[in-house]
């Protein structure tokens, strides 16, 4: 009761705490969600259509890998393989767009891109992701130094694909000067996957075959994104939490006079700490919920912001949400209760006088 009164009768202070916690929590949510979203999108792209991935041996990044496309026939000849396709992934300026994903693929993979209009590309043609197509009204576009006719528009739930360009692997090979970035293989029986990985590995000493699951786990780009996002999230998290603790501590210190009066009236330390505990709890939980809602709204809007070409996407996991909730509560309570505890041990008249000074 007193906790609610204190919050409602000090709207400016309450708003200050509320805003500080909200902003700190949102920063934590957005940074960690966006990096998780980027990793999620790329993982999904690789995982969707293959069980095994073949890359160049010793090259841990699909952008730099070069695999001989002629391996496709040998792979398809292995018992237990139900299909395979090759792909080149790259990035290039497209028309006035500074950078977009380029996906060169064998024809048997075109059906992965759901056509919304037009037809799949022939040589010298491309299809555009719906997100990217909004930027162009022309019938052809420049990709790198070459001009391509736009033969259609496709739809994809994956932001990287929705903002990208798909072309024949031969055209992509000329652009990026390689045979294939990787080959994705589908298997008939999942239980045979380890044997098939071994069989494929024996086809050439220049290749490395892995299950897509383990590839994603070990993929260098993801490790870079994960590590840098961990550092940024950790900094945002620490700064946000320190901010919460500082604001709470300042607010508590500004209420020393009130605590002194309460102690003079015979209220126990426990009474003061208890009320402050509830005030902090009410404030941090409501700010957390508000930050969570705002973050979810922003994360939902991100893929639809044209300027971002669908490349920025966020995934907020339950684990992150829970971790942030616990950390927020702990830091807010530490920030408020430690100075309150110290204050409660001070002689009441000194608290009153400190509050006045």
């Amino acid at each position: 009761m007193i906790s609610l009164k204190a919050l409602s009768k000090n709207p400016f202070k309450s708003l200050l705490i509320f805003s500080s916690i909200t902003i700190a929590v949102m920063a934590i949510f957005l940074i960690s969600s966006v990096s998780a979203g980027i990793i999620g999108m790329y993982s999904k792209m690789i995982k969707t259509d293959g069980d095994i991935i073949i890359t160049q041996k010793g090259i841990s990044d699909t952008f730099f890998s070069n695999v001989d496309i002629s391996l496709l026939d040998k792979v398809n000849g292995i018992k237990g393989v139900s299909g395979s396709y090759a792909m080149i992934v790259g990035a290039s300026p497209i028309g006035h767009i500074p950078i977009a994903g380029i996906y060169g693929t064998t024809k048997n993979h075109f059906s992965h891109y759901r056509l919304e209009s037009g037809e799949y590309p022939k040589d010298g043609e491309v299809i555009l992701g719906k997100g990217l197509s909004k930027h162009f009204v022309t019938k052809s576009i420049n990709v790198g130094s070459k001009n391509f006719k736009i033969s259609g528009v496709y739809n994809s739930d994956i932001g990287f694909e929705d903002g990208g360009v798909v072309m024949n692997i031969e055209d992509a090979g000329l652009l990026f000067n390689r045979s294939a970035s990787f080959i994705l293989v589908s298997v008939k029986e999942p239980k045979e996957i380890d044997d098939l990985v071994k069989s494929i590995s024996l086809l050439s000493s220049d290749i490395e075959a892995k299950t897509t699951k383990s590839f994603i786990k070990e993929y260098n780009q993801f490790k870079i994104i994960e590590n840098s996002s961990f550092v940024i999230s950790f900094l945002a998290f620490s700064m946000g939490l320190m901010g919460i603790a500082s604001v709470m501590s300042m607010i508590v210190n500004s209420r020393k006079e009130e605590f002194g009066i309460m102690r003079a009236l015979g209220k126990s330390r426990f009474f003061i700490i208890k009320n402050l505990f509830f005030e902090t709890l009410i404030m941090s939980i409501s700010a957390y919920i508000f930050a969570l809602i705002l973050s979810l709204i922003i994360l939902t809007m991100l893929p639809h912001i044209e300027m971002l070409q669908g490349y920025v996407n966020g995934t907020l996991s339950m684990q992150t949400a829970l971790l942030v909730l616990i950390s927020t509560l702990v830091m807010a309570l530490l920030g408020s209760l430690i100075p309150a505890w110290i204050a409660s041990k001070t002689d009441p008249i000194l608290l009153i006088n400190q509050g006045c000074s």
């Binding site: 009768k9 009236l265 015979g266 126990s268």
Partner: protein, 207 residues
Amino acid sequence: MIKVSNISHFYGSEQVLYDISFEVKDGEFVFLSGDSGSGKSTLLSILSTLLKPSHGELFLDNTPVGQIADIDKFRQNKIGFVFQFHYLINYLSIYENIALAALDDKKQNINALLSDLGILELSARYPNEISGGQRQRVALARALINEPKIIFADEPTGSLDSKNSKIVYELLARALKQGTTVVVASHDLKVQKYATKTVRLIDGKIQ
């Protein structure tokens, strides 16, 4: 009832009270007088258990204050305070300010006490919505609600005009008649009129 034994006090390295000793009997009206900076507020804070003395001992009801098991409960049960600047809590209404100090079995008396002090109509208002004189009467109601054995008042009329000052002193005198011990620190010599005992401080020493 109150026994002050060789009390000295320092703020940092500055000594403000020097070896103070005196006694106050039950039902006395004690006037702690002295100029600004003489140490009377510090002494009143020590007497009222709001400040621990650097040296010496204070006895309340023949018990050393340091040996009182629950000093918070003791304060709530037996001591009432009136400060110069009322120190009401701004986010609580007048009624709630008094209820905050009241023991559970005394809460039923709040309205009667407010009525007695002529401020019942203010009970739903907040401290910033009433005048300085009214605030001091509320502070007095807060001090009286638990029918304490001792009331300590530090410059209770320091921020009041003469009319309101008179009201406050008359209310303190009325508490005295009901058996409450009253200790007032003030440089206002009008308090002398109500006092049964005067302790005059000069530069931290009893004159």
